[in-house]
């Protein structure tokens, strides 16, 4: 699959934003590390919402006909893409109510219930983003429950690193934030490792024989029938060399999990705390972006069987 920059930016940014606000609610509810004050909570919440909004806006850049984008909310009952849009839109007012109830010191029940609903809606939205890819039977590497799990884990990992940076800046006790980050990143790393292991041979998949129905002999493509590329080759023809993919997987693990993990240790040991937290956030997010790029680059659409691939 052709990795579209706007979609990579969208999934990474909105994932981090949704992760940040859910964990912000948890930090607020349990007063982790002494608890953020009012202004800090609002700043964090607004930052999360900005990430989500910029992400959603950038996702419209890959549309060829964005004037009809408003119609994307209409097929809620069947389409995961539509569901994601609807959930993201439902999330916005809930998050605003939560932030407003923090600003105006609203009664605790309102603050907690709106915060809880915000966190749940954020979870559902990221899940829907993952399901957009996971529901496609045409791409074996995506058609697995590991995909929404990865989207959630990585979104929350980026969010937890952002929250840790917030705790450092706010001067809170960072221990609970380090523990939270470490736990979420460990889960994300394990899930990603399982995914990378699994897609090396993802089980039964269509072959050139089932694609042509000529199942009793070897089949090979002689000619694609087009002079230059087509929409199909541009969209689905992208291929990444195995070696390059392996190298990028190392980059994903180093930037996405190992560097932020080391930085957690630095923060814990009180060594140049602020720099360490910033490095953790940047490495985590760049790692997530590389992971997303690779997620697209490694996906092999079955239409490639009509362009010469023997199996997908």
């Amino acid at each position: 699959m052709h990795p579209a920059f706007s979609v990579i930016f969208f999934t990474v940014a909105s994932g981090a934003g949704f992760g940040l606000i859910s964990l912000l609610f948890i930090a607020d509810f349990f007063k982790l590390g002494g608890g953020f004050n009012q202004d800090q909570l609002v700043a964090g919440g607004l930052m999360a919402m900005a990430l989500v909004v910029f992400g959603l806006l950038s996702s419209t850049f890959h549309l060829a006909n964005p004037k009809n984008a408003w119609r994307a909310f209409s097929r809620f009952r069947t389409s995961w893409l539509s569901r994601e849009g609807v959930f993201a839109v439902v999330f916005m007012p809930l998050a605003l109510i939560y932030l407003v109830s923090i600003i105006f010191d609203a009664p605790q029940w309102l603050r907690v219930s709106s915060g809880f609903l915000t966190a749940v809606m954020a979870w559902i939205t990221v899940f829907s983003t993952g399901m957009i890819y996971a529901c496609l039977k045409t791409i074996r590497q995506w058609n697995t429950p590991l995909v929404p799990a990865n989207y959630l884990a990585l979104g929350y990992a980026s969010g937890s690193l952002l929250l840790l940076l917030g705790a450092v800046v706010a001067g809170l006790d960072t221990t609970p934030y380090i523990a939270m980050s470490a736990l979420i990143m460990a889960i994300a790393a394990v899930l990603k490792a399982i995914y990378y292991f699994w897609i090396r041979s993802p089980g039964l998949s269509p072959t050139i024989n089932t694609a042509t129905g000529l199942t009793r002999a070897k089949v090979k493509l002689l000619d694609t029938g087009h002079t230059h590329g087509t929409f199909l080759t541009q969209e689905f023809g992208f291929q990444i060399a195995r070696q390059q993919a392996s190298l990028l997987k190392i980059v994903v693990f180093v930037l996405g999990f190992i560097v932020p993990g080391l930085m957690l240790v630095w923060v814990f040991n009180q060594e140049s705390v602020q720099t360490a937290a910033i490095v953790a956030v940047l490495a985590g997010i760049v790692g997530a972006a590389v992971e997303r790029w690779l997620f697209f680059a490694e996906a092999r659409h079955v239409v490639n069987l009509y362009h010469g691939a023997q199996r997908c």
């Binding site: 269509p206 129905g213 002689l222 929409f231």
Partner: protein
């Protein structure tokens, strides 16, 4: 009704006439235009609803070239319709034709991801997805003579490798042919239940070819001479 095509892989000669006829009709039909990018340039490309690939089956001397036309299969369980977020893609209840409402499409490409057959192509000039309509603006046209109320590709095929008809009717020509010749759908394991069916190439006697040198003194002298001459 369940309208669709039968494509005879035994007969298709790979002339691309069906693709040309399709382009000709649909470029000015209800879904047109079908944009071309750099048609006379170095990298000619464009929107087509019908593409013909050429395969080789088996190995010499049992090999055979199979010309393989493909357009929308008008699947019974069309995921392209399910995944469409805007409702632009729809499958008609009355005849099973899958269509795209050009006024609703936002060009997100998601339906093309869901289609295993590569039937959908984005038109860059209109920013909308386009696909085979089964010539819906032709097969119901009362102004045409009855025998011409068929998709363009079927009418034009010089080898009669394409048939159009109703698969719900067990006595229609398409249903009968599929039954008799063992017609099959493509990639059935994905469970899209495509309507279009393909008829397999017939078995043909292998033409014997002499591939081994005959041997003997005369032959080895000849081969030796050939080697000398080549040098």
């Amino acid at each position: 009704m369940r309208l669709g095509l039968v494509i005879d892989l035994d007969v298709c000669v790979g002339c691309h006439a069906c693709a040309i006829a399709c382009k000709e009709w649909n470029a000015s039909g209800t879904i047109g235009p079908l944009s071309d990018y750099q048609p006379y340039g170095a990298e000619p490309s464009g929107v087509w609803f019908n593409r013909i690939r050429h395969y080789e089956m088996d190995e010499y001397p049992n090999n055979k070239t199979i010309n393989f036309p493909m357009s929308c299969m008008h699947c019974e369980d069309a995921d392209c319709v399910t995944v469409c977020p805007t409702g632009a893609s729809y499958k008609r209840a009355e005849d099973g034709i899958v269509l795209i409402d050009q006024d609703k499409c936002m060009g997100c490409n998601y339906c093309s991801w869901a289609c295993p057959y590569g039937a959908r192509e984005l038109d860059r000039s209109s920013g909308t997805m386009k696909k085979c309509t089964l010539c819906v603006d032709r097969i119901y046209d009362q102004n045409l003579p009855v025998e011409e109320r068929q998709p363009s590709c079927v009418l034009t095929c010089p080898a009669h490798a394409r048939m159009f008809g109703d698969f719900d009717d067990p006595d229609s020509a398409v249903s009968r042919t599929v039954r008799e010749r063992g017609g099959y759908p493509l990639m059935p394991e994905l469970n899209y239940n495509p309507t279009n069916q393909y008829l397999p190439p017939r078995r043909k006697p292998v033409i014997p070819v002499d591939t081994q040198p005959k041997g003997g003194l005369k032959e080895s002298i000849k081969q030796f001479a050939n080697k000398l001459v080549r040098r």
